[in-house]
């Protein structure tokens, strides 16, 4: 068995083999399932990606308007409530919020299903649940649960950005020029507060995908989280290594995209980088 898995060879030889195979897209074969580790992970990946992107979209769609409102009217009662809510979002543990959501929305009210992925639709060979009503109802609670922390982060970033930008000379000038409030907010304010939001959210997306394990476990979401937990328990080395390598690659690609986006939004970053 040791020879079969190549575990009898010295570590540097094993690493060399792994690296050469990885360059050809082969990240090893699972000791437990007897299948390529990459295939195993890719089978579960759409569910995790769907959950992570849904959470990110929720965080942006809810977080930015609330943050901008709290920044524009900092002394209003609603703004204070939003900021208090964002502190709760930071401090409450994800698993506890998830359990409470199941308790309220699934057990007591019976509005939403508590576990699973529901009915899915096959689009280009990928199973998606947000395209069916049943799937959407299954997705809503886990996505909201996963997005709570990021939503709080977006609210605080958007509020801080708004407070800073609203006092800038170009905003005063635009207002004096007679521009409408909506144009002031959606064009002049949004463009300037989006730089930190895009950077942080881009980096957080990797975290959302990698650490959705807790939410997946609470809501029995059939994603990569369950697979990696089982693989760690059984010391299924190729699956653990493959999972970690995919996460590393994902982080690197997301960082790269964020850097490029950042340099488009703020050309000073690109120019500064060229000088160093």
């Amino acid at each position: 068995m040791i020879r079969h898995f190549g575990l009898d060879k010295p570590l540097h030889i094993q690493y060399g083999h792994f690296l050469l195979n990885a360059l050809n897209g082969d990240l090893g074969k699972s000791f437990i399932f007897g299948m390529p580790a990459l295939k195993l992970i890719l089978m579960r990946m759409p569910a995790t990606l769907e959950l992570a992107f849904s959470a990110l979209i929720l965080a942006v769609l809810i977080g930015i308007p609330l943050g901008v409102y709290a920044g524009l009217k900092p002394k209003a009662k609603v703004s204070r409530t939003i900021m208090a809510g964002s502190i709760l979002g930071f401090s409450l543990p994800t698993f506890w919020v998830g359990l409470m959501m199941i308790m309220v929305f699934a057990v007591m009210l019976g509005w939403l299903p508590s576990t699973g992925r529901g009915e899915t639709v096959l689009v280009a060979g990928i199973e998606l649940s947000f395209l069916t009503l049943d799937g959407l109802s299954h997705l809503l609670m886990p996505a909201l649960n996963l997005s709570l922390f990021k939503m709080s982060l977006v609210i605080r970033l958007a509020r801080a950005g708004t407070r800073e930008v609203v006092h800038q000379d170009y905003m005063k000038f635009a207002r004096a020029k007679g521009l409408s409030e909506s144009r002031l907010i959606f064009v002049h304010l949004m463009k300037n507060i989006l730089i930190p939001v895009v950077t942080v959210l881009g980096l957080e997306l990797g975290g959302l995908i990698a650490f959705s394990v807790v939410t997946e476990t609470v809501f029995a979401w059939p994603g990569m989280g369950k697979l990696i937990i089982d693989s760690i328990h059984l010391l299924d080395r190729p699956v653990v290594v493959a999972y970690l390598m995919i996460i590393v690659l994902m982080f690197v690609i997301i960082n790269l995209i964020v850097d490029v986006l950042y340099s488009i939004l703020d050309p000073r970053v690109r120019l500064q980088d060229m000088k160093t």
């Binding site: 068995m1 040791i2 898995f5 575990l7 570590l11 094993q14 690493y15 792994f18 690296l19 990885a22 000791f31 437990i32 059984l234 010391l235 299924d236 080395r237 653990v240 290594v241 970690l244 390598m245 590393v248 690659l249 690197v252 690609i253 960082n255 790269l256 850097d259 490029v260 340099s263 690109r270 980088d273 060229m274």
Partner: protein, 50 residues
Amino acid sequence: MTVFIIRRLLQSIVVVFLMSLLVFVGVNVVGDPVDMLISTRKQIRPKSNG
């Protein structure tokens, strides 16, 4: 812009290489998978009556 992207790409390749080394060595340090497999199979083997 192209130089900026190429530079970032090269940095990313170095990061991926270093991380692969770290992950591979780290996972190897955790334990011997053969021991784990043998003990798992022992646990699920049914007990004999004799």
